[in-house]
Every structure is written in structure tokens, then in C-alpha cells.
């Protein structure tokens, strides 16, 4: 191969002759989808599988290593980690979905308004978005938290949703700008279609494919944000069980060498995130199947 003559560029023709039997499931993230739906369903129906009351403080058995009674051990307050994981997953996932819904709603509205507006208004809105992007995330979260009062599940979801819409709105704006002068949009406007009618029936179907990926990724980043905030003591308090607030006891766990307190909630968290990422990457799709020229 290395020395002398080598045929290049011929592979394309060979490729055409061989018709591969296409497997319907090939290249699709089946495993991720299955795992994710397992986690979601079991978290929603956690009453069926949990063995203990997740919020019961069994102080006699605090910080016990995993055994047959406590499958994943207990934390420093004597709560059963196995039960907490399923119970807390519900809250983590809820926050992920609710804040993504908020993010998407705000992003679509800002993006569409900016995309449809005149050049100056558009520039002003985009400049504003840029400035908002340059305010440190953490700052906005802390300040919003302070303004909303004591952190609860809904307020956390709101805060996370309000800090994550900027980049999505930029993508939507670009998409809208490309199609806003198409004949069908103008026709719809001429027939008296209002802003939201045009947005929903004509613009949304066009940008939905490019936004789907970002929506899935935003669920992921919302879950990460919740767990990070709760871990750092800015999010949910320890009594409200979520994957993040379970890990906020990690400091004590480290000094007690209690690896199970850190490992198990984190593993569930990471599994969920990896599944979401795989799904998101699949949605982004359009893998280039042309043969490499190299």
C-alpha cells in the first residue's frame, strides 16, 4: 500500500453495486431509548419498586454500606439511597422537562419576533440577547433565586428555564429569517393570518427539525443545572429529594469514605444524560453517507 501505485477514488463504484440489506433498527439509539424510558417510567411509578420510605430518617442505620436490606446503602441521615434515587429522579426529570418547556417557549417567541421584525428591531433584540449571554449564568441564577424567595421545585425549574433560552432563540431567529419571505408566509399574511397563526402553521414546521436537537440537549443541561445548583447549596434543600440534593451530602460522604453515597445517584444521573445525548445526536441526524475520498 505505502510504496508505489495505489488506486484512489474507485471505491464509490464498488459501493453502488453492493446493496446492503438495511436493518430497520441499525444506527438508531435503541439502547438509549430503552434505558431512558425504563428510568422515566420507573421514576414515575416509583411507589411500586421502592423498598423504604425515601424521606424516613433511620438514624440507627446511618451511613451503612450497601447490603441486602439497603440495596445501595444509606446516607448520613439514614435515608435509603435505593428508594431516594427513584423518588428523587422524578423531581430531577420534572425540573428537566418543565424548564425545557419554558426555555423553548421563550426561545421560540423571542426568536420568531426577532426574525420577523425589521432590521433595526432585530439588531436591537439580538444585541440584547448577546448582552444577556455575557452576564454570568451563576449570577442570574442567584439573583433570580433571591428575588423568588425560598427555592422550591417550581421556582428552580423557572430559574433554569429563564437562563437557558438565549442560544436557542438565536438559532430560531436565523431559521425564521431564511423563510420569512417565502411566498407561502407572505400569502398567509396577506390573507390576514396573525403573528401566532403564521408562527405555528408556517414557521414552526420549518424550524422544528433543527430545534428538536437543541430541545433534547436543553433537557440535559437543565438536569445538569439542577443537580449542580442543588449540590452547591443554591438549589433544592436537602429535604427535597432529587439527584442533585442527594449529592449535596457528598462532603460528609468523602470524609466518611462512603463511596456509595456519591456513586449511585451519580451513575443514574450520568446514564440519563448519556441516553439523552445519544437521542439528541440521533435527532441531529443527517450523517454523511457519501464515501470518503481520502
Amino acid at each position: 500500500m505505502k510504496d508505489g501505485f495505489q488506486v484512489v477514488g474507485i471505491q464509490q463504484q464498488i459501493q453502488q453495486n453492493v446493496v446492503k440489506p438495511q436493518n430497520q433498527w441499525q444506527g438508531k439509539p435503541i439502547l438509549s431509548a430503552l434505558l431512558l424510558s425504563c428510568i422515566v417510567i420507573l421514576c414515575c411509578a416509583c411507589e411500586l419498586i421502592i423498598t423504604k420510605d425515601p424521606s424516613y430518617l433511620d438514624l440507627q442505620h446511618h451511613s451503612t454500606a450497601p447490603n441486602s436490606q439497603f440495596l445501595f446503602g444509606t446516607d448520613t441521615m439514614g435515608r435509603d439511597i435505593f428508594s431516594m434515587i427513584w423518588y428523587g429522579g422524578r423531581i430531577s426529570l420534572f425540573i428537566g422537562f418543565v424548564s425545557t418547556f419554558l426555555t423553548t417557549a421563550v426561545a421560540v417567541i423571542v426568536g420568531a419576533v426577532s426574525g420577523c421584525a425589521s432590521k433595526r428591531v432585530d439588531a436591537a433584540i439580538m444585541r440584547m440577547v448577546d448582552i444577556l449571554l455575557s452576564v454570568p449564568d451563576l449570577l442570574v441564577v442567584v439573583l433570580l433565586q433571591a428575588a423568588l424567595g425560598s427555592p422550591g421545585v417550581v421556582s428552580i425549574a423557572f430559574v433554569i428555564g429563564m437562563t437557558g433560552w438565549m442560544s436557542m432563540s438565536k438559532v430560531i431567529r436565523t431559521e425564521v429569517r431564511q423563510i420569512r419571505n417565502s411566498e407561502y408566509v407572505i400569502a398567509s399574511k396577506c390573507m390576514g393570518g396573525g403573528f401566532f397563526h403564521v408562527l405555528w402553521h408556517h414557521l414552526a414546521p420549518n424550524f422544528i427539525s433543527s430545534v428538536m436537537f437543541m430541545v433534547v440537549m436543553s433537557i440535559r443541561s437543565a438536569i445538569v443545572a439542577e443537580s449542580t445548583l442543588s449540590f452547591m447549596g443554591m438549589g433544592l434543600p436537602v429535604e427535597v429529594i432529587s439527584w442533585g440534593s442527594m449529592l449535596s451530602l457528598a462532603g460528609q460522604a468523602l470524609s466518611g469514605r462512603a463511596w456509595w453515597m456519591i456513586l449511585f445517584p451519580g451513575l443514574f444521573l450520568v446514564t440519563t444524560l448519556v441516553c439523552l445525548t445519544n437521542l439528541g445526536n440521533h435527532l441531529r441526524g443527517h450523517v454523511n453517507r457519501r464515501h470518503s475520498n481520502l
Partner: protein
């Protein structure tokens, strides 16, 4: 038009575009400072607590009133803002309520640590990402590429704080090889080896959590690049695979990579606050959190100005880089330029 006539025109265009950018920069920073100023003043909380600590509880209403007056907190917000702006223009950023020191001093002692952590992390990411990307693109869809993609996706997903915890658990608690917190052992501030040992774990977290994002981007860009026709031509001329990859494809990917890395500077530098918190590393990330939480206004303003300026500056840098390198963008008018950049 001959080249000699075009030269002064070019310079004048260059100066006007630079002036425009500078103006935009100043306006953005001003709006940012106004925004942060108002949000922080309007959010509930008592700055007196951060100034006087627990003594606030025992103060009478009169004393409180006097203290607020002294700190200038009784004026309307816009008056406070204008006063703050005047002081800043004279180079006076005020004192930190909590540390009772000049805010520049408070930050000065810590910013080095953050720059060290973020800067070294950035350099590692900047250099390693193309290497990984090339390895993946070289072995596209073969075993090395698949393994790297799997590992990369997983490490890219792990939240920074959990990665830090696991690393501390393994290397500091169970193996006892590395220290778990701080930037240096007390009493050994000037020992370089000690600092490096403290830096290793946080650095590993910073690099691992960001690296794959950029490596994957380079991989995908290279993959679409090696499907271009010029690659076939180059191969037909008899160039080796490595020559085509490194000599043709990589330079074509470089401009996009540079501009993305420029945008990412504040992201990587400023994104260290989680790591700093977990490792109790004395950087400015923890300061931002503290100052926002305890209404330490002057400190908060300077910190958010610093981050804001870095973000805006790096965005402009990225734009300039892609303009300089890619003549297609340079020649177009500004309006369409912005759209090209965002796609």
C-alpha cells in the same frame, strides 16, 4: 484602481470598522453594567449583613439608617449608578463590604489562581482537541473512532461536580496520591511542585469535561472535508493520506476552530467555578457566588464587568479572526456577516 490607490482606502476602512467595533464594545459594557447594577440592587437582601456581619441584628434602626447613609445606599438607584460610574472612571472600584478591602485587591489575590487553572486547561483543550479529532476522522467508523466516540460522549455528559467528586474519591481518599482541596499546602506557598500536585485534579476535570465537545466538532468538520473533490484530486496527484489530511483538510477546518475557541475562552475560564467550589480552590468563581449571594455590590459589579468584558471581547475577536482568515466573510456587508457567523 491600482494597488497604490487602494492602500489608503483600505486603511481608512479598517480604522472605521475598528472604531465601530470599539464603540459597540463600550456601549455593550455600559448596558451590561447598568443591567447588573439594577438587578443586584433590586433583588431582596441586606448588604449591611455582609458589611457588619452578625452585628446587624443588634443595631438600632437609627444606627442602621446611619450605616446605609454612609454606604450611600439611601440614594435612588440611578444616582448610585452615576456615582459608581464616576468613581470607576477615576479608577476607584470601591471597597468590598465583606472583606473591607479594595475590590481590586480582593480579586487580584485570587484571579491568578483562576487564570492558572482555566488558562492551562484551555491550552490543553486547544492542543488536544485537534489531535483527537484527527485520530477519529482518520479511523472513521473503525474501532478506534468508535471507542473514542463512546468514551467522549460519556465524559462529555458527566457533570463537572460529580467528576470532581469521583476523582477526589479515587485519588485523594482511597489512593491518597493527591491532595483533595486548596491551591497549596499551608506553609508551602512557593513550592512549585506542591502547587502542581494541587492543580492536577481540578485541571483534569476542566480538560475532561470540555475536551470532547471540541474534538467531536473537529472530527465532524474533517469528515465532511475529506468528502470534498479536492481531496480526490490531491490523492490522484500521489499525495499520501497524511499529507492530504494535515496539509489540506486541517487548514480548511482551522478558521472555524479558531473562532469557536475564541468564543469559548470565557466559557472555559469562567466555567471553573464549580470545580473551584468542589476543590475549595481559591479562585474568583467562588467570589462571584459569594458576592451575589451576600449583596457585596462593588465586588459583584467588578466581577461581572470582568466576565462580561471577556465575553464581549472574545466574541469580537472571534468575528475578527473569521473575517481576517476567510475573505468571503470580509467582503460581505455587516448585516449578512452576522448571519453567516451564527449559522
Amino acid at each position: 484602481m491600482t494597488g497604490e490607490e487602494a492602500e489608503p482606502l483600505k486603511i481608512r476602512n479598517y480604522i472605521t470598522s475598528m472604531g465601530k467595533k470599539l464603540l459597540l464594545f463600550v456601549i455593550s459594557v455600559l448596558i451590561l453594567s447598568l443591567l447588573v447594577f439594577y438587578i443586584s440592587r433590586l433583588s431582596p437582601g441586606d448588604p449591611l449583613v455582609s458589611y457588619y456581619g452578625d452585628r446587624v441584628e443588634k443595631m438600632s434602626t437609627q444606627e442602621r439608617e446611619w450605616a446605609r447613609e454612609r454606604l450611600g445606599l439611601n440614594n435612588p438607584i440611578y444616582v448610585q449608578y452615576i456615582r459608581w460610574l464616576q468613581n470607576v472612571l477615576e479608577g476607584n472600584f470601591g471597597i468590598s463590604y465583606k472583606y473591607k478591602m479594595d475590590v481590586t485587591e480582593v480579586i487580584g489575590g485570587r484571579i491568578i489562581n483562576t487564570l492558572l487553572l482555566g488558562g492551562i486547561g484551555f491550552v490543553f483543550i486547544f492542543l488536544l482537541a485537534p489531535v483527537l479529532g484527527i485520530v477519529c476522522a482518520w479511523h472513521e467508523d473503525k474501532l478506534p473512532d468508535r471507542i473514542l466516540c463512546r468514551i467522549g460522549t460519556v465524559t462529555g455528559c458527566i457533570p463537572e461536580f460529580w467528576l470532581s467528586l469521583v476523582l477526589i474519591l479515587i485519588f485523594a481518599v482511597f489512593l491518597r496520591w493527591l491532595p483533595s482541596s486548596g491551591a497549596y499546602t499551608i506553609g508551602a506557598e512557593h513550592d512549585a511542585a506542591d502547587r502542581v500536585r494541587h492543580l492536577l485534579l481540578p485541571l483534569a476535570v476542566v480538560v475532561m469535561s470540555h475536551l470532547w465537545y471540541y474534538a467531536y466538532m473537529i472530527r465532524n468538520k474533517l469528515l465532511s472535508e475529506i468528502r470534498a473533490d479536492y481531496v480526490l484530486l490531491a490523492r490522484m496527484k500521489g499525495l499520501r493520506k497524511s499529507q492530504v489530511m494535515l496539509g489540506h483538510c486541517l487548514p480548511n477546518v482551522a478558521p472555524a476552530y479558531f473562532s469557536i475557541m475564541a468564543i469559548s475562552v470565557p466559557h472555559i475560564l469562567g466555567g471553573t467555578y464549580v470545580v473551584e467550589t468542589v476543590f475549595s480552590y481559591p479562585g474568583i468563581g467562588t467570589l462571584i457566588y459569594e458576592s451575589a449571594r451576600y449583596q457585596d455590590y462593588n465586588l459583584l459589579m467588578l466581577l461581572s464587568l470582568l466576565t462580561g468584558i471577556t465575553v464581549i471581547f472574545c466574541n469580537m475577536l472571534a468575528q475578527t479572526i473569521s473575517e481576517r482568515i476567510d475573505p468571503r466573510i470580509r467582503s460581505e456587508e455587516e448585516g449578512s456577516l452576522r448571519e453567516v457567523k451564527e449559522q
